[in-house]
């Protein structure tokens, strides 16, 4: 008992998790610790409905901060276009073979936004088929992309990041860079109409060059359970090391929000309206990309 008594005084930072663990295993009928205190270990004790683990995420934050600040030197513009509260949908272009754009977009909003809002981004299905990757992404806040999940998030007034290009976006070849692919089935527009969530178009520049894909091997994709098997300048030549992203200079640009409240929620079935809004979002993203590319002098230095 002595060390347990001494500890809280001696330590400036109390490491609470240790003490309850000991007592719980010794005293059989110990009353349960209140759910807010971590009982056994600090890792993933409390997760939210979608499996986001704040404790785990806090440990990963320095890594993403390093990527954001030093590695990709992300320049963030137009953050004022992201509303300070309420539901909202960030619609961005998707690129980079290994998609870092989800976590970077989230880091950008978390660091630059005055409200320090948290972003939940929707990840492709194949991520969740994969060992380690799926559970890692879930813990840091990714959610499987489907209508039900996105609707639930928006109804809880969350900021949701969507990449409507999906795997076509990250799986495009280097020569197709910065050309927006087809927007799935425009499900994101129907969702925005249904939930009356404004759409903020987002352009991410720099991610395309992190792992420039030269070739897709379709024959190898299936056995690995992935949508494409990438061949880049360094992968699979250098093995897994070849998947390290190039230190390109990134820009994340938030465009003017497109409000949905002037349309009735029931108009989600109106295909012409849905297509028109999708086209408007697409034009907004493409023109932001094109403008930023004209301005850019160097891939690495910006």
């Amino acid at each position: 008992m002595e060390p347990v008594k001494r500890k809280p005084r001696a330590k400036p930072k109390p490491r609470a998790p240790r003490a309850p663990k000991k007592s719980a295993s010794v005293i059989v009928s110990a009353p349960p610790a209140p759910p807010t205190t971590p009982v056994l270990r600090e890792r993933n004790e409390e997760v939210d409905d979608f499996g986001y683990d704040p404790a785990y995420d806090a440990r990963m934050t320095p890594f993403f901060d390093f990527l954001y600040e030093r590695y990709f030197r992300v320049e963030c513009r137009g953050i004022v276009n992201v509303p300070t509260d309420g539901r909202c949908m960030l619609v961005a272009n998707h690129s980079g073979t290994i998609p870092f754009d989800g976590p970077m977009l989230r880091t950008a909003v978390k660091r630059e936004h005055p409200g320090k809002r948290d972003v939940r981004w929707l990840a492709e299905d194949f991520v969740f088929h994969f060992p380690f990757l799926g559970s890692f992404e879930t813990r840091i806040g990714a959610v499987r992309a489907c209508q039900e999940n996105a609707e639930r998030l928006l109804r809880h007034e969350t900021l949701v990041a969507v990449f409507p290009e999906g795997t076509k976006g990250i799986g495009k070849l280097f020569r197709e860079r910065y050309k927006l692919q087809r927007f799935g089935r425009n499900g994101f527009v129907r969702l925005a109409l249904r939930t009356q969530a404004p759409i903020v178009p987002v352009a991410i520049i720099g991610a395309e060059e992190t792992n420039p894909m030269l070739m897709r091997l379709e024959a190898l994709a299936k056995p690995f359970g992935i949508p494409y098997f990438p061949v880049t300048a360094t992968f699979p030549l250098l093995g897994p090391l070849g998947l390290l992203p190039a230190p390109t200079k990134w820009r994340i640009i938030f465009g003017e929000p497109i409000p949905m409240d002037k349309h009735h929620p029931e108009r989600e079935g109106d295909e012409t309206l849905v297509a028109r809004i999708a086209e408007r979002v697409r034009d907004a993203i493409q023109s932001m990309i094109d403008a930023a590319l004209r301005e850019r002098k160097s891939v690495i230095f910006g």
Partner: protein, 353 residues
């Protein structure tokens, strides 16, 4: 005058209890029949009926006599026999049964798959034929959220409208899916009967026993390397309360009965005080089959997807329509189970069932 019962607590008063229905008052007797009466849910439900003054008599149907009080009358009926249809119709008519709670399902996967099929799939057919002849007012049936199946393409919260996609290779699931299909046909043919299906999440608690409690009481638990799906439970008291609520109120339809909150399975195993042994999933499949054949695991390898992928249900409909409020969260249900388990290990708590 048992009918003029004291006012019962009605959390939001959306639906009137049956016993106050004019039709029910006219009959003047509320008789509830329970098939699978000796099961965990059956025994506990009968105990709560015994205490409820609004219920006049309980008809317990099983092959084994449940522990019960003086309101309960036991009938030994083997649902796997074809004669069960006529027998049940007779019992329902003679006892003037109004409500049937159909709980004759196995809580754990069994090696005797032929019997399980006869009991669950064919047995449900027999029960429902009997119910149609007996002109029951209400049928409540137990089902499971596991029937949705664990798939990487599942939304994080499965609604009641989602298809039941549990693997066809496991009779534990297919029998129950067939039973639900049987009930759907019954709904079509007898529209005047109120039919409620309660799909409960895996039940945990201090006294319940199933493949899940056996799984969580293994010292070392096999998990799938690199996968940490979210899991969801329901406390045994909440599960019993949900069935009681479905008997007391008329809420036709299918409802997911699940606790609030989810836990990653790794956390669940740690909270239960167990050690997880991650195994690569291609190896786990043959290993699981071998262990099941040697009767060393509580569940066959067809349950392994639940260790890899999501199968979490959305309980919103039960809250909104039926007024069901679970008292325990997933975490609390698990901790309650783990505490009782610890007492059992040091022989301070003996097995009740």
């Amino acid at each position: 005058m048992a009918v003029l019962k004291p006012k019962r607590k009605d959390p939001n008063g959306k639906l009137e209890p049956t016993a106050r229905d004019p039709a029910a008052l006219q009959e003047a007797r509320v008789v509830v029949a329970v098939t699978g009466a000796s099961s965990f849910l059956g025994q506990n439900l009968i105990a709560s009926f015994e205490e409820d003054p609004a219920i006049d008599r309980v008809v317990a149907i099983d092959i084994k006599q449940p522990a019960s009080g003086k309101k309960t009358r036991f009938y030994e009926v083997d649902l796997t026999q074809t004669a069960a249809e006529a027998r049940l119709a007779e019992i329902f008519a003679a006892e003037r049964v109004g409500t049937l709670v159909h709980l004759a399902f196995q809580a754990s996967p069994s090696h005797a798959t032929a019997y399980a099929h006869e009991l669950e799939s064919v047995g449900t057919m027999h029960v429902l034929v009997g119910a149609r002849h007996g002109r029951l007012r209400k049928v409540v049936m137990a089902s499971s959220t596991l029937l949705y199946g664990a798939h990487p393409s599942n939304p994080n919260f499965l609604g009641e409208h989602q298809p039941l996609r549990a693997t066809k290779r496991e009779s534990f699931f297919t029998n129950k899916i067939e039973a639900e299909a049987e009930l759907a046909r019954f709904v079509e043919r007898s529209p005047e009967t109120v039919v409620t299906v309660l799909r409960t999440a895996p039940i945990l608690g201090p006294t319940v026993s199933s493949f899940l409690t056996k799984f969580l009481s293994q010292r070392v638990i096999m998990t799938m390397m690199g996968f940490d799906p979210l899991v969801q439970f329901i406390h045994e008291l909440d599960a019993i309360a949900a069935f009681k609520l479905a008997v007391d109120r008329d809420a036709p339809g299918t409802f997911n009965i699940c606790a609030d909150g989810v836990l990653p399975i790794s956390t669940a195993i740690r909270l239960a005080g167990r050690i997880s042994l991650p195994v690569p999933h291609p190896i786990a499949e043959p290993l699981g089959t071998a262990l099941w054949m040697a009767q060393l695991t509580p569940a066959p390898s067809t349950f392994l997807p639940y260790l890899r992928f999501l199968c979490v249900a959305d309980g919103a409909r039960a809250k909104d329509v039926m007024g069901f409020r679970p008292a325990f969260t997933t975490r609390e249900a698990l901790l309650d189970f783990a505490r009782a388990e610890r007492l059992r290990e040091v022989k301070l708590l003996s097995e009740v069932y």
